[in-house]
C-alpha cells in the first residue's frame, strides 16, 4: 500500500456533502467551483464560475471573510453564515483556507438540530472533560476517551491509535458495539497511512467521510487557470476519498469514518479513529467538539505521559542507587550484579541479561546460550568502539543472531573493561514475541484473480509483522543513561577496591616489615636470657659437680635440654616469618640432583636411615628456588624416615603423568627432561612411604605451625614446623600441597609447583 498517492492531494473532486469554491486573492473571483452547487444552493455552477463572491454572499459576510483573511491564519476557521438561495435561506458552515496563491472556501450545510442534540454540545463536552479528569492512568484515560467520543458522535467503533518511533500504529483503546470484532492491540505498518496524509494529520487536520461510497464531485475547470495546476487539496476538509481507503474500509464493512489527529509537541502522537457500518453524517459542531476534546486529550496526555515517563525515570533512578549501593558494599561483584536477578533486568527494562567477568559468563532471565553470548561479545569487540552499544535490530546487524532473535532482537552491551573482558549485556525479545492479538476480524483476506490482496486490518497486521521482524522495543535514552551510570559506578567501585587493595597491601607490607623486625628483635631478646640460663646451667654442671647429687644434675640437664628446644622453636619461628619475605630465586633446577643431595645429607645426619629409596623414573627439571625446594624434600623425606615403624621401610619419590592421573610410566632409565614452561599442567611431585600414616581427622592440622601429632619423645620429636614451612615454600612457588594417607599403611604427600 506504499505506492505514492501524492496525486490524490491534487485531486479534482470533493465529497458531495458540501460545496468548494476556489477564489482569487484579493479580488475574490471564483476561479474553480464544485459541480454540486445546484443541489446545495439551487444555483448552477456555471453561473458562479468567473463571478466575484458578492454574487453569492452579502457585503457584511464578505467583510467578515476579508477580515479573516487579513489575519495570519494557517488553519481552518469555521463560522456559520446564512445564504439566501433560490431555494430559500440556507445555513452553512464556512471553512476558509489559503493555499499558495488562492483562497479555498468550503461550505457545509448545517444540519437542523435533531433530538440527539437536545443537550447543548458544550454541556456534553464539559461532562466528558469532567469524567476524563477523574482518571489517572493513561490506558484508562484513553479507554474513557473512546467512550466519550462515541457518546458524542454515535459511531459504531471509536479507537485510539498510537504511533511508535517508526511510524507504525497500534490500537491502544477501543469502544465499540458489542457484536463487532475487537481491533484492540492490532498493529499497522507505517505505510498504511501515506506520508502526505500523515503530514496533514501532523498539522492538526481531521478527516470526515460521512459516506465512503458516495460519488465524488468534480471541480470545474479541473485546473486552476492562473497556475495551470490542479488544486492542492491537502487542507480541504471536503477532499474526496482515495480509492484504496474506500476499498480498505469497505472490506471491513465500514461506510463512514472520522479521524482526529492527536499532535503532541511537533509530533503526531496518534489518532482518534471512528468507524460506522452505515453512512453517517456528524454535524460540524460535534466534530468541532471532538477536535476540542482531542486537544484536551493531548494536553492531558502530555502531562500523563510526561508524568509516567518521569515516574519511570524516578523508579529507575532509585532502583539504580539501591543497586549501586549494594554492589559497592559487596565482596563479590558478580554475585551482587546477578542477585537478586530482577534488579539487573529492571534497571534498563530488559528481559534477559548476561554478565561476563573475565570470560566467566552468568545468565539472567531470557537469554541466548553462554556460547552464543560469547560469540556475540567477540563480534561486538570488532564492531564497538565506545563502552555502550545498543540496537533493537540485532539480527539485521549480525545475522548469526537470527537463531535466537526470539530472546535477543534487542541488545544493549556495556563494556566495563575490554582488557579484562568485563561486559554486561541486556537482551530484549523480538516485538512479535510480545504481541498478542486476541481479536480476529471476521473479514478474512482474499486474493483476487489479478493477485492483489484484499486490504484489511488483519492484512495490515501481517504486513506490520513483516516490518517489525527481528526488531525489539527500542532502548530509551533514560535506559541508556542508566547503563552508562552503572558502568561508571562499577568502574568507580573497582577503582575504589583497587585503591583499598593497594592500601591494604601497603599496610600489609608495613606490618610484614614490622613483623619481620619484630621477629628478629624478639628472637634476639628471647635468646639472650635463654643463653644465660643455658650457660649458667652448664657452669653449674661443670663447676659444682662434686656438690650436686644425681637428681640435681639430671634437673640441670633437663634445663639445658629445654633451652636447646626453646632455641630451636625461636629459630623456626624466625625462619617461618622470613619465608614470607624472602625473594625467590627461580632457576631451572634438576630435581634429581636436589633429591640425591638431600638423601646424602639425611644418610649422614640420621644414623637410623634404613629405608629403601625408590625413584621409578628420572625426575624432571623445573623452574624453582633450589634452596627452598631442597628444604621441602628434606622435610618430606625426613618425615617419611621418622614416622615409620615397619621392618621393611621404603620411600618412593616421583611425579604424576602430565595428564594429572595417578598412572605413571616406569622410568626407561633414560633421563627425560621435562621443561615446565612448555608443559600445560604444573608437575605434581609426590613422596610416598609405608609408614605409620595419618588419621583422616588430622590431615588438615598437620600443616599448622607447632602442631604436633605425637609426643616429644616419640619419632625423634620435631618442632612441629617442618610441614608448615614446607607448605609455605610451596605456596610461595604458587603451588599447593596435599596428602593422602591410610593409618598403618602409609602416606603420600603430593605437591605441585605452578
Amino acid at each position: 500500500m506504499s505506492h505514492d498517492r501524492k496525486l490524490i492531494y491534487f485531486s479534482r473532486s470533493i465529497q458531495p456533502h458540501g460545496i468548494l469554491l476556489v477564489l482569487s486573492h484579493p479580488e475574490l473571483k471564483i476561479l474553480q467551483v464544485s459541480v454540486n452547487t445546484q443541489a446545495h444552493l439551487g444555483i448552477p455552477h456555471q453561473n458562479l464560475l468567473g463571478q466575484t463572491l458578492d454574487t453569492l454572499l452579502e457585503d457584511s459576510q464578505i467583510q467578515a471573510i476579508n477580515k479573516c483573511l487579513s489575519k495570519d491564519f494557517s488553519g481552518i476557521n469555521p463560522s456559520k453564515i446564512l445564504i439566501r438561495t433560490p431555494k430559500g435561506d440556507r445555513s452553512f458552515n464556512v471553512l476558509l483556507h489559503r493555499t499558495t496563491n488562492v483562497i479555498v472556501l468550503e461550505l457545509e450545510p448545517v444540519v437542523p438540530q435533531t433530538q440527539e442534540n437536545f443537550f447543548s454540545i458544550s454541556a456534553l463536552l464539559k461532562g466528558a472533560i469532567a469524567q476524563l479528569q477523574q482518571v489517572s492512568s493513561t490506558s484508562e484515560f484513553l479507554q474513557l476517551v473512546t467512550q466519550e467520543v462515541r457518546n458524542l458522535t454515535g459511531f459504531d467503533r471509536v479507537m485510539v491509535y498510537q504511533f511508535d518511533f517508526q511510524g507504525a500504529g497500534k490500537v491502544i483503546a477501543e469502544a465499540k458495539q458489542d457484536h463487532l470484532p475487537s481491533y484492540l492491540d492490532l498493529h499497522y505498518p507505517a505505510t498504511d497511512i501515506p506520508e502526505p496524509v500523515r503530514e496533514a494529520y501532523k498539522r492538526g487536520m481531521s478527516r470526515f467521510i460521512p459516506d465512503l461510497s458516495a460519488q465524488a464531485i468534480e471541480l470545474v475547470p479541473p485546473k486552476n487557470l492562473v497556475t495551470q495546476q490542479p488544486l492542492d487539496f491537502s487542507l480541504a476538509v471536503l477532499r474526496s476519498v482515495d480509492p484504496c481507503c474506500v476499498e480498505y474500509h469497505q472490506n471491513i464493512g465500514v461506510a463512514a469514518i472520522m479521524v482526529i489527529s492527536l499532535v503532541k509537541g511537533q509530533t503526531l502522537w496518534g489518532l482518534i479513529s471512528c468507524h460506522h457500518q452505515t453512512p453517517k453524517f456528524v454535524p460540524y459542531e460535534i466534530r468541532e467538539a471532538c477536535e476540542l476534546l482531542a486537544q484536551f486529550v493531548v494536553s492531558e496526555l502530555t502531562n500523563k505521559v510526561d508524568r509516567e515517563e518521569l515516574d519511570y525515570i524516578v523508579k529507575l533512578r532509585s532502583l539504580q542507587s539501591d543497586f549501586i549501593e549494594s554492589i559497592s558494599q559487596a565482596d563479590n561483584l558478580k554475585q551482587a550484579l546477578v542477585n537478586p536477578a530482577p534488579r539487573l533486568l529492571d534497571l534498563v527494562n530488559a528481559q534477559g541479561a548476561a554478565v561476563c567477568l573475565e570470560d566467566e559468563i552468568t545468565l539472567v532471565g531470557l537469554t541466548p546460550t553462554v556460547e552464543q553470548v560469547r560469540d556475540l561479545i567477540d563480534w561486538a569487540d570488532t564492531q564497538v568502539s565506545n563502552p555502550l552499544f545498543h540496537t533493537n535490530l540485532l539480527p539485521k546487524l549480525y545475522p548469526e543472531t537470527l537463531a535466537f532473535k526470539d530472546v535477543a532482537s534487542g541488545l544493549l552491551l556495556l563494556q566495563i573493561s575490554k582488557v579484562r573482558r568485563c561486559y554486561i549485556l541486556w537482551f530484549r525479545p523480538e516485538v512479535l514475541q510480545t504481541v498478542n492479538w486476541a481479536g480476529n476480524p471476521n473479514g478474512s483476506t482474499t486474493v483476487k484473480a489479478d493477485g492483489t490482496i484484499t486490504l484489511s486490518p488483519r492484512k495490515s497486521f501481517e504486513q506490520w509483522q513483516e516490518t517489525v521482524q527481528f526488531t525489539s522495543l527500542p532502548w530509551k535514552a533514560c535506559e541508556l543513561e542508566q547503563a552508562l551510570d552503572l558502568r561508571n559506578a562499577i568502574v568507580g567501585i573497582v577503582l575504589n577496591k583497587a585503591d583499598e587493595l593497594a592500601q591494604i597491601n601497603q599496610e600489609l607490607e608495613r606490618s610484614n616489615q614490622e613483623l619481620d623486625s619484630f621477629a628478629y628483635a624478639a628472637s634476639h631478646d628471647l635468646k639472650e636470657p635463654l643463653r644465660g640460663i643455658h650457660n649458667f646451667s652448664t657452669l653449674l654442671l661443670r663447676g659444682y659437680e662434686s656438690v650436686l647429687d644425681d637428681v640435681g644434675k639430671s634437673r640441670l640437664q633437663t634445663l639445658i635440654r629445654l633451652t636447646r628446644r626453646m632455641e630451636s622453636l625461636i629459630d623456626v619461628l624466625l625462619k617461618f616469618s622470613r619465608l614470607g619475605q624472602a625473594e625467590l630465586h627461580f632457576v631451572p633446577t634438576d630435581i634429581n640432583l636436589i633429591v640425591n643431595r638431600v638423601l646424602e645429607d639425611l644418610r649422614i645426619s640420621r644414623q637410623d636411615f634404613q629405608a629403601q629409596i625408590r625413584i621409578p623414573r628420572p625426575l624432571p627439571v623445573v623452574n624453582c628456588d633450589p634452596v627452598l625446594i631442597s628444604e621441602v624434600f628434606t622435610n618430606l623425606l625426613s618425615n617419611a624416615l621418622k614416622y615409620n615403624n615397619k621392618a621393611e621401610q621404603w620411600i618412593e619419590i616421583g611425579y604424576l603423568g602430565e595428564e594429572g592421573t595417578g598412572d605413571w610410566v616406569l622410568g626407561t632409565g633414560k633421563s627425560q627432561k621435562v621443561n615446565q614452561q612448555s608443559s600445560q599442567f604444573p608437575i605434581t611431585f609426590y613422596v610416598k612411604d609405608n609408614g605409620i600414616g595419618i588419621r583422616e581427622r588430622h590431615l588438615d592440622i598437620i600443616f599448622r605451625l607447632f602442631k604436633r601429632l605425637h609426643e616429644q619423645h616419640l619419632y625423634g620429636g620435631g618442632t612441629g614446623a617442618g610441614l608448615t614451612i614446607t607448605k609455605k615454600i610451596i605456596e610461595r612457588h604458587g603451588g599447593r600441597i596435599w596428602v593422602e594417607s591410610t593409618v598403618d599403611v602409609g602416606s603420600t604427600f603430593y605437591f605441585s609447583l605452578a
Binding site: 634476639h524 635468646k527 639472650e528 644465660g532 650457660n535 649458667f536 633451652t563 632455641e567
Partner: protein, 152 residues
C-alpha cells in the same frame, strides 16, 4: 700459641651474663690481653674519643680489636660501627661483630659498613665455646693488628 699480651681488647656488651660467660671462657683459654668493657654504644665512642666518663683518663689504650654487640642500649651497635669506620683515624681498628642476630640484612649491613668479621652468639655452650675459641685464636693470637697500635 700465646696471645699478644699488650694488645687490648674492647668488648661492647650490655648483657652481664653474656659478658661473664665470655670472661670465663677467655680465662679458661688463658687470654692475657687486657679486656675493657663498655655496656652501651655511647661509652664505646667515649672510650675511643676519650670523652665523657673517659675524658679525664690519661692514655686510654687504643684497642687492637673491638668485639661489638649490635643491639646496644643508647647508640646502637650499627651506628657505632658506622661512625668508627667513617673515622679516618679509627677505621683501621678491626671490629668483629658478636651478636645473636642472624638477620641477613644485619650481616649485609655490617660488612657494607666495614665490619671485619661477624660472629653469631649461639645458645649452646659448646657452640659458644667453639666460637669464642676461634675468635681468640685468630684475632688475639694469629692476626697482626694495624701498625698504628704498636707505634703508640
Amino acid at each position: 700459641m700465646a696471645t699478644k699480651q699488650c694488645e687490648p681488647l674492647l668488648i661492647a656488651e650490655d648483657s652481664d651474663e653474656d659478658f661473664e660467660v665470655l670472661q670465663l671462657l677467655m680465662q679458661q683459654m688463658e687470654v692475657q690481653n687486657p679486656i675493657y668493657r663498655c655496656t652501651n654504644g655511647d661509652k664505646v665512642l667515649d672510650f675511643l674519643y676519650q670523652e665523657g666518663d673517659y675524658g679525664n683518663q690519661d692514655s686510654l689504650p687504643r684497642p687492637s680489636v673491638i668485639l661489638l654487640d649490635l643491639n646496644l642500649p643508647g647508640t646502637d651497635g650499627r651506628d657505632v660501627l658506622e661512625q668508627l669506620k667513617q673515622d679516618r683515624n679509627l677505621r683501621e681498628i678491626p671490629i668483629v661483630v658478636f651478636t645473636t642476630s642472624s638477620n641477613p640484612k644485619d650481616i649485609e649491613f655490617c660488612y657494607q659498613k666495614g665490619a671485619n668479621g661477624y660472629l653469631i652468639k649461639p645458645v649452646d655452650s659448646n657452640e659458644l665455646e667453639k666460637t669464642v675459641q676461634a675468635f681468640v685464636e685468630y684475632w688475639l693470637e694469629v692476626n697482626i693488628p694495624p701498625i698504628s697500635n704498636s707505634a703508640q
